[in-house]
Amino acid sequence: MMFKKINQYLLTKYPLLWNTRVLQVLAANALVHLLFFLGGYASLTEGSSMQRYAYEYYTPGLVFFSVLCSFVVLVLWLVFYLRNNAFKSFYTIGKWHLVKEMLIVMVIVFTSSIFFESYNEGFRAKGRSITGSSQLLKEANTINLAMAFIPYSKADYFILRTCDKDNKGATASYYDYENLDTFNIMMAAADTAIGEFNANNYRPDSMGIAKRNALRKPGAISYQHYCKTFITLEDEPGFVDNPQLKATVNRWLKNQYTDSVKYILEECLKVCKKYDVDLTLNTAQLAAMPFEDSLHTVNNLVKTSRYDGENVEGKAYISIYELQQSMEFAESCQPGKGKFMKEHLLPSLYAMLFISIVLICYRRFSKKSFFISLVGGVVWFIFFGILGAATASADVVGVLFLFLFVLFSITGLVQLKNKSQKTLTGVFLNWHVYTFPLVIPAIAGIIIANYERLSRYTGFNLNVVDYCTLYPFSCWVSTHFEEIAWVNFAVSLLYCIFIVNSITKKWHVMPEE
């Protein structure tokens, strides 16, 4: 009864809201989003399930189900929405009627097409309820400190490991991935058979020579040099960074704080247990290991999984992968760390824009013009696909696309002005509208493709900085493609709102012959 009253009220007061069924659809969408959210919330349980979702929360099955729900909602909505069309019936409409209708369509399409995001949000909410931001900070600091005493790679304890924050990316990563054991074997060989060759062919200040010299020093692999954060929470107040961590480790080593080491290891094990990380560790043994000699040499390594090398029953191991996954997932659940705003929003908005454009064209143009243009659009799409595959050249496809865009636009607009061939004009205008949002990306694509080709010609071995010096504009386009995509979205939206509506109104009153 209440629903009927609201419907009647909208019908006799706000016919556009009644026609678009926006309130009903948004209410239905809110319900579906809530169900997806609850589904996501219920799917996550504390323990091992938190390890599995570090990169993607949703499975193909979930995406398929979400798309299916979107399809059902949109089809049901269209059944009602397409019943009436004030514009095509030449009803009196306000100045902003078409704009409002377009925006309503966009809102409905957008909210109907991102159900899986609510699933993700449900997931993340549950993740936050398991590990809140303060808890995560505490756990990260605990693990980072504890991992100093769970050695699984000698590289982390190498004397050349730097704590220089500014140079963290280059130097630290170099040593992270260098297998020092292999390097040692190589060095031993260098000292004998091919030593002369190396001495003649490598500069004395090369990294290899530096490492070789460093390794010869006593205590080259020591707990004292540990300077790594296993989990990094960027710009998080209270997060213990590398230098602080190193200072704490060294203070404990210097003062023989065995109990502190043991305590932090036990705390770490509690965190691991929470996330069901696979491990077998003896905290007493691990706590004693740093104090075996005065240089705190790392003599024994912990395996990184139960399948790491020759696993001996009872030998210490910790699944580094599982621990990393768990912590990354816990971090991704925190506010502002989700993927929607960073990665999914723009593609979702573009999908919404294209679906809305197709719908709006159906509402504005005759069925004949619309369907011809739709079929033609599919043919163009296939043609460009084949052309792209055949030429493997983005700029050839881009230039041809731009040529066709200009052709469609000029032909359509000239015919609109001359009021001739209504159906054909409608087809050209449809194509014009479909292709408009792709124009700026096509231009950017041509620039980037051209820039990359020129770069290859002019200097095969040039790095990014050199490219940008040679071709600053192309470089800027290449490195700001996402920003360009955002601007293009805004321009396309405004174009649709202010220009397309005006064009379609003129087309609608055109005589047929």
């Binding site: 019908l11 006799t12 007061k13 016919p15 009644w18 026609n19 397409l82 019943r83 009436n84 004030a86 019936s89 030449f90 009803y91 009196t92 409409i93 009021k419 109104k505 609608h508 009153v509 005589p511 047929e512 012959e513």
Partner: protein
């Protein structure tokens, strides 16, 4: 009684008094619609409910009905009539059209449509009736000539879209629409400024006037083709158009329904508060001529305009009779010898007799009686477009 309503209200009263309740009912609704007053609409709809309920009881006499009607008429009479000026609504000068396929062309013609007047458009199939209507509606671009619309209720700075909001074109086969009749009427009415309770009253009034109250929840698929035209007409009237263009509105209607629709159109066109200019094409010559002030006859794309006022035509072209008889041509010639019979044409069913001079219909009928000519059917078509058709 309000002086402007007087003839209309007296007419309604007379219909009910004489027992012509169906016609009286429709004209009563016309009177109520003329007021453009929500209170009168509400009172009239109350009367309609009562009238429908009463019809089921099959009452013996109409005294209660007459009392109710008088009561309602008194209320109507107290409301000032919002009179809207008529005048020309469309002026087309020298318009012609040749299709790009070259199969057909409409020769130059002038058309003027006035508020309050009906123009009939007759002619055989394929002679350009629909083409002319589509030209007037702006769906086709004339090759020559101009079409000027004199529409009042649109913004000063208007587009052709604004003009078309005040025109209504109902094609022979109206496009299907979806949802219930009531929803569609209300949706239309809201767009044309009828909001809230007024919207409900106005759409209910139009439904009552078009005899569609029982069908308010029906959808397009549930109604016959005859009612589809009625549905479409109701939706059009809700818009209060200034010009109404109808293409073969009688095509799918039975004889009785044709008469009712044409009478309705006549009354609607001549409304004092919202008069509209109507042009309708049809094959039903005599029915169209009954309600039209002017008839345009199209033959192979060439127009012949015909005023339907008798005195204008008989004097110019003489008497033309349509006669169906079992007698042969010789017998007919023999009967009308000396009465100015100039030509007889026969299409196998009826004869068309062309008389010159002073012969009048009374004299000729007297002669038929005297000669005992077996007559099945006789009609004076001197002012009818029928005479333009081949036999």
């Amino acid at each position: 009684m309000n002086s402007t309503y007087k003839p209309h209200l007296a007419e309604v009263k007379a219909y009910f008094y004489n027992g012509d309740t169906h016609l009286g009912y429709r004209r009563l609704l016309d009177a109520a619609i003329e007021t453009q007053h929500p209170d009168i609409y509400a009172a009239t709809l109350g009367f309609c409910d009562w009238y429908d309920a009463r019809a089921n009881t099959k009452p013996a006499d109409n005294s209660d009905l007459n009392a109710s009607v008088n009561d309602l008429l008194d209320k109507i009479d107290k409301v000032p009539l919002p009179v809207t000026a008529g005048g020309i609504k469309l002026q087309a000068a020298g318009i012609s059209k040749r299709y790009s396929s070259g199969a057909f062309s409409l020769a130059k013609l002038d058309v003027a449509l006035h508020a309050g007047k009906i123009t009939g458009l007759v002619g055989e199939n394929g002679n350009g009736k629909t083409t002319l209507l589509r030209l007037l509606y702006g769906e086709l671009k004339p090759d020559t000539g101009t079409i000027n619309y004199h529409i009042s209720n649109i913004p000063v700075q208007h587009s052709f879209y604004d003009v078309k909001t005040r025109l209504a074109f109902i094609p022979q086969r109206p496009n299907a629409w979806y949802g219930s009749l009531m929803d569609n009427l209300q949706f239309t009415a809201t767009h044309f400024g009828q909001t809230g309770k007024e919207n409900y009253l106005w759409t209910e009034m139009i439904m009552a006037r078009m005899g569609l109250r029982a069908f308010r929840n029906y959808t397009w698929g549930r109604i016959s083709s005859g009612y589809k035209m009625r549905f479409e007409l109701a939706r059009t009237l809700v818009k209060k158009p200034e010009l109404l263009l109808l293409d073969e509105p009688l095509a799918n209607l039975d004889v009785l329904a044709q008469q009712v629709i044409l009478e309705d159109l006549k009354y609607l066109a001549r409304s004092q508060s919202m008069p509209m200019g109507i042009i309708l094409s049809s094959q039903q010559l005599y029915e169209v001529e009954k309600v039209s002030e002017e008839v345009i006859f199209l033959q192979k794309g060439v127009a012949r305009s015909q005023q339907t006022t008798p005195q204008q035509n008989t004097a110019q072209e003489g008497l033309v009779l349509e006669l169906e008889t079992t007698a042969g041509r010789e017998k007919i010639q023999q009967v009308f010898e000396g009465y100015g019979l100039q030509k007889i044409s026969f299409n196998g069913g009826v004869y068309i007799l062309y008389f010159a001079g002073e012969a009048g219909i009374s004299q000729l009928m007297k002669r038929i009686g005297e000669a005992e000519l077996p007559v099945k059917y006789l009609r004076d078509i001197s002012v009818s477009s029928r005479r333009f058709f081949d036999a």
